[in-house]
């Protein structure tokens, strides 16, 4: 079906921005909260993202992935600020990890991972926020926002293999922390552990 030419001229309007970009505000806010660890800094980051996105809206191709485009702007803005503040390079070398490791440890005591359901929200957020930034960002994008490995790879400009190895490591660290907490809180009873 041929598109009328007027359609092209109409594509980068405030209306199309409102229609295609604004519905992703909550997603942007959620990701910003986890990157910054602070709701008011998250608000600033989302505002900066939305303003940059609107100014560059004529470069967005309508019908493509607006969420990925916005999150890329958000993540790059965050990393630029982060680099200025911390002055330390991002992107540590990560060795291969055994994806079975944490399940092997937990599996004997709670094979179906029921303890996950008993955790309080604040504890889970704190545990995520403790992860190093390069692990936290892949975990948030993949396991919370459901971006594919390919999307994350192009957003972060790292190979898919690196996305996967960071994710395995991030999940292991997070699950490890949460399991220790669950044991300390008695969500997994010591008796249950001894029986195995």
């Amino acid at each position: 079906m041929p598109m009328p030419l007027t359609e092209t001229a109409d594509q980068s309007t405030p209306e199309s921005f409102e229609r295609e970009a604004l519905p992703h505000l909550d997603t942007c806010f959620r990701v910003a909260c986890r990157l910054t660890g602070d709701p008011s800094r998250a608000e600033d980051l989302v505002q900066e993202t939305m303003l940059k996105a609107f100014r560059a809206w004529h470069r967005f191709r309508p019908g493509t992935n607006a969420r990925g485009w916005l999150l890329t702007i958000l993540r790059n803005s965050f990393i630029n600020q982060y680099r200025k503040q911390k002055r330390e390079p991002i992107g540590v070398d990560i060795d291969a990890v055994d994806p079975m490791a944490i399940y092997r440890r937990v599996g004997q005591t709670d094979p179906e991972g029921e303890f996950f359901g008993k955790l309080i929200d604040r504890k889970v957020l704190d545990a995520i926020d403790k992860l190093a930034i390069e692990f936290r960002e892949v975990l948030v994008l993949s396991d919370i926002e459901d971006l594919s490995y390919a999307e994350i790879s192009s957003m972060l400009e790292i190979p898919i293999g690196t996305v996967k190895s960071r994710l395995f490591r991030a999940r292991r660290q997070l699950q490890d922390q949460l399991y220790d907490h669950a044991v300390a809180m008695g969500y997994i009873s010591p008796r249950e552990r001894q029986l195995q």
């Binding site: 921005f17 909550d26 806010f29 505002q47 939305m50 303003l51 399940y103 599996g107 991972g113 996950f116």
Partner: protein, 86 residues
């Protein structure tokens, strides 16, 4: 892209694809092969339930977080400075 093993999946291959399988991001063909492996392999079935429980927990606890109305208001006001939104 994820390489597609040509023969029956072994445990390592199935586990490497596990999260994409649980999040329904695999092609139907590949998803079917992961499912077939998990169905006949008790340790991998158990592992998949564990990881599903982990993902469900994140979904419940985090997906419900939304931008607070006051923040949304301030962001929209800043945008209005740039553009005539309806």
């Amino acid at each position: 892209m994820t390489k597609v093993p040509s023969t029956v999946l072994d445990c390592d291959e199935a586990l490497e694809l596990l999260h994409e399988y649980l999040k329904q991001q695999l092609t139907p063909e590949l998803a079917e092969r992961v499912r077939a492996h998990i169905e006949m392999c008790r340790p991998c079935l158990s592992h998949s339930r564990f990881e599903a429980s982990y993902l469900r927990m994140l979904e419940h606890k985090l997906k419900s977080i939304t931008c607070p109305p006051e923040s949304r208001e301030r962001i929209l006001t800043a945008l209005h400075g740039e553009l005539p939104l309806s």
